[in-house]
Assembly symmetry: C2
Homo-oligomer: 194 residues x 2
DNA sequence: CCACTTGATGTCAGTGACTGGCACTACTTA
DNA sequence: TAAGTAGTGCCAGTCACTGACATCAAGTGG
């Protein structure tokens, strides 16, 4: 009956999101998701490799957006400035999709198994960002460190934005990077002479 | 036959580590682990909540060590200095246990399911570190950000140390925090007037 | 209009992680 | 010695996930 496959895929995502909200992730079976989506359980696993992945679909888009923004950032910016630039741009996607992503994030937040997957995705994106920095000519060591601390700052800002959406993600981002700046500048260099 | 339970637990950990190395995590069944340890499969799940957790046991110790070092760091240090202090101390545990933790880390590195769990543990420890900073009087917002960026820096340094153990973890740590300092100081504050 | 191919699905059998329940045994304590 | 407790073995069952094979709709070329 379904011709394109993409329809079934969307129905599965929708059904999974609903059921995870209604009964919780652990008390939802893949058979139930498939039934609500009107397909066979086997079909579920043809579209998603496992029960968690059905909630993580936009990753490829976000990754592409991030890498593009890092690549296209103005010349002359320092690594963390490049990242702030990219996060501001990519953050708009997040903000526009908030109605979609809010229930999703709520479920992830209360489900350890989903938090684990979320962390894995974040780690993968961090690695992608580091690679994008390297392609910009940032030295290997700095690219890795900048990507990790930059992502941590972004993650921190996103968390603050979830708790307090009034100010907008961008304001939280700017404040987080300012805070990072303050944290580091106020730190005496290493414990050794330089 | 076993009297203390702790023995069975250690045998299970040992058997799991061996089997994961020999055949890989995915091609090892919990029944095989139990058999090599000389116990029933059910006993495996009495000691460990799942097949991954058997490799993550020292977490409580590391957490305690970290929180203690953060709490006992000298007064007057800025948040990131406190963390550098704590990581240097806690890092010694890592260095002393390298013979133990090296095969373990190698398995984790090549097994996505175990990497996920590892990331979850790191996130949990980061949260603990943030809490320890708060108890030191660091403001909520800064504690969270400092913990995340500090952990990212620590993680980065640990990775560099794994690749190049010659210099010792401490040297890598100092360099990573210096790099972080450089990254941030060279960054113009935000994109807005202050 | 008839093969023929192709992509998505349904069906079925099977493996393995994990759980609840119950009985047994060794060690501890009154 | 009796009662308790902790650690274990055993058994049945659920559920995530996989491989193999059949089916079915749609498009394609003759």
């Amino acid at each position: 009956m379904p011709r394109s496959g993409a329809e079934a895929r969307r129905r599965l995502q929708q059904a999974a999101l609903e059921l995870y909200r209604e009964r919780g992730f652990d008390r939802t079976t893949t058979a139930e998701i498939a039934a609500r989506a009107g397909v066979n359980e086997r079909t579920f696993f043809r579209h998603f490799p496992d029960k968690r992945e059905v909630l993580f679909d936009g990753e490829a888009d976000l990754r592409a957006a991030l890498m593009r923004e890092v690549a296209e950032a103005p010349d002359g910016l320092r690594p963390l400035e490049v990242l702030l630039h990219a996060f501001r741009k990519a953050g708009r996607i997040l903000e526009e999709n908030r109605p979609f992503s809010e229930p999703r994030l709520a479920i992830i937040a209360v489900t350890p198994a989903l938090r684990e997957r979320d962390l894995a995705k974040a780690a993968s994106l961090t690695e992608a960002v580091a690679e994008a920095l390297r392609q910009r000519g940032v030295a290997d060591r700095l690219a890795d460190l900048a990507a990790q601390t930059g992502w941590a700052t972004f993650h921190h800002a996103a968390g603050a934005w979830i708790d307090d959406p009034e100010q907008g993600l961008e304001a939280h981002l700017l404040r987080a990077f300012d805070d990072l700046h303050d944290l580091s500048t106020a730190m005496t260099p290493g414990g050794r002479g330089r």
